[in-house]
């Protein structure tokens, strides 16, 4: 890609026409994520009146911190979520608006479809016994609770964080302690579970913690402590949950699995090519290395089982300049070839849509075409079908951030 624009990029409508067997909702989702969204004052007003979330704390983005309240994100008519926020990119964003009393998504002044926002769960207005607002302890997707127990990544200690990642700059602005207290987590989950039908999944993620006797030991211990606190709220030993963490060793993973109720495990390989990984994720490469990171993910299948381990990639970042692939075709070929190796080992690869966030090294770069994301989604989905890989752990409902896993909703 290299930021050149001398090719015609197909519009949303053109891509829908060209790929009639791909859900137009999946295409729309990828395009909204790629181009992002703005909210009109009418949309913000409708969200404020309708019981939707206008405030959220996350480890990559927070909303409402500086009094800039707007809907946390969108839902499409097919029930899928679109995880996006008003980030400036080189492209024209979509606009969420209200027309004839209906919440809609607009592109260039034209209504594309009706949308909804994310509702506010009941626990959000409450505080824990330590006085911490619960919305700071857990954020909420339409059906998922997100608990991010540590909001700093130590790959940034010597500037070797991943080049698309804004966690470090976000943390510096956040002004909240990096570590979330286990008792606060216990109380927040307890409160959240009082709302029948609101949540079906709990996801944990955090920045990497490199310290401990073995690399990542302190991160492992933190997850165990938090998962045990969450687990006290359930009558079953295991509960629907996902941990997105560093690539832990086999013995570390065994510890997490044995000592907690965790059911699924994700460690993100981020970019499916050893050379690009080394350039884009220098800290991960230095401390663990591409091959070992990959091996550790494969090993996890032996503990959690097939269908309960996957790995995320930042879709499109393999085309970042100046070290990325030179063309979309080349990037797609290499990515899907490597994703197949994951599939052969029982690991599903899921992608998010790369958005060069402010505060990341890649900020300001132009991301790939919409068509690229459609081909990537389709390619990853086809691999899952071929290798019989279930994607419940990161599907449209339990996550909602992956256009490729939305495709699994319709049997082929």
């Amino acid at each position: 890609m290299k930021n050149n624009e001398d090719f015609h990029e197909l519009s949303y409508k053109e891509v829908v026409e060209k790929y009639p067997d791909v859900s137009p909702f999946v295409i729309l989702k990828a395009d909204i994520q790629r181009r992002t969204v703005t909210y009109t004052p009418e949309a913000v007003e409708a969200a404020a009146r309708g019981g939707y979330q206008l405030q959220s704390r996350g480890i990559f983005t927070s909303i409402g911190r500086d009094g800039d309240f707007f809907p946390v994100s969108l839902m499409l008519r097919d029930g899928s979520s679109v995880f996006t926020s008003p980030v400036r990119t080189p492209r024209e964003p979509y606009a969420a608006d209200v027309v004839d009393g209906k919440k809609v998504i607009m592109d260039g002044g034209e209504i594309v479809d009706e949308v909804d926002f994310w509702y506010m769960p009941d626990y959000m207005g409450k505080t824990t016994s330590s006085g911490r607002p619960m919305w700071q302890v857990a954020s909420a997707r339409p059906q998922r609770m997100d608990i991010d127990p540590y909001s700093y990544c130590h790959f940034w200690d010597d500037g070797k964080g991943c080049r698309y990642c804004n966690m470090s700059s976000h943390f510096k602005k956040d002004a909240l302690p990096a570590r979330i207290d286990a008792q606060d987590v216990y109380e927040t989950v307890r409160e959240a579970l009082k709302q029948d039908g609101r949540f079906c999944y709990i996801k944990l993620t955090a920045g990497s913690i490199l310290s401990g006797e073995e690399l990542f030991d302190d991160e492992v211990n933190m997850y165990i402590e938090i998962l045990q606190a969450i687990g006290k709220n359930f009558r079953t030993r295991k509960f629907p949950s996902q941990m997105i963490s560093s690539a832990f060793s086999l013995s570390q993973l065994e510890r997490v699995y044995e000592q907690t109720g965790l059911m699924s495990y994700t460690s993100d390989i981020e970019v499916l090519n050893e050379e690009k990984f080394a350039w884009i994720c220098p800290g991960k490469q230095l401390k663990v290395g591409y091959r070992e990171w990959k091996k550790r993910i494969f090993d996890a299948v032996g503990i959690f089982g097939k269908g309960f381990v996957n790995s995320g990639i930042v879709g499109g970042v393999e085309l970042a300049g100046p070290g990325g692939f030179g063309s979309e075709d080349e990037a797609l070929r290499a990515t899907l070839e490597e994703a197949e190796d994951f599939a052969v080992h029982g690991v599903s690869v899921v992608h998010c849509v790369w958005v060069p966030y402010p505060g990341s090294v890649f900020y300001g770069q132009r991301t790939p075409s919409l068509e690229y994301f459609v081909r990537l989604s389709k390619g990853l989905h086809d691999l899952r079908v071929r290798y019989d890989l279930d994607t419940d752990m990161d599907d449209y409902r339990r996550c909602g951030n992956h256009p490729d896993t939305d495709l699994a909703r319709v049997f082929t």
Partner: protein
């Protein structure tokens, strides 16, 4: 969105003894029918369908119908033998929010320890009276040539 249902349709939808069958198709056109006694109308003149099994063939076909504009069919058979067919399009899949939660609570109250996969909103396109008497009358009026001659043989 659509006009409210006529009184006879509402009566059938609300009657617990009405048998309600939902037929969907997959991408190859293969039909799939299930009894869905949870079908009901909402205030806007749509049909509401509760899907308890998230990974069901119906849920998959409904999603495919919403994505690609395929129609679904609902057959209502009343206790008196009358029947109506409603053809429509899945318009919305609700998996979160107050509407979903209300159905979730109600479903669990009625059925015990079950879950709710989705609340489907189906926009009706046409309602056809499929009762035999009605269809027989229509056929006789519209196609006077279509009959066996022995039926009109002189005694």
């Amino acid at each position: 969105m659509t006009a409210k249902f006529a009184e006879n349709v509402m009566r059938m939808l609300e009657d617990e003894r009405t048998v309600k069958v939902l037929t969907t198709v997959d991408s190859s056109g293969t039909p799939h029918s299930v009894v869905k006694n949870s079908l009901r109308s909402d205030e806007e003149g749509n049909i509401v369908c509760l899907e308890l099994i998230e990974s069901s063939r119906t849920n998959s076909n409904m999603t495919g119908s919403l994505w690609f504009g395929r129609k679904v069919s609902i057959l209502l058979v009343g206790r008196d033998g009358s029947s109506l067919q409603i053809k429509g399009r899945p318009y919305k899949c609700v998996v979160a929010g107050p509407v979903f939660e209300a159905h979730y609570r109600e479903t669990r109250k009625q059925l015990g320890n079950v879950d709710l996969g989705a609340v489907w909103i189906i926009a009706p396109d046409e309602i056809i009276d499929e009762s035999f008497e009605t269809r027989w009358r229509e056929e006789s009026d519209a196609h006077p040539l279509r009959k066996h001659l022995d039926r009109i043989r002189a005694e």
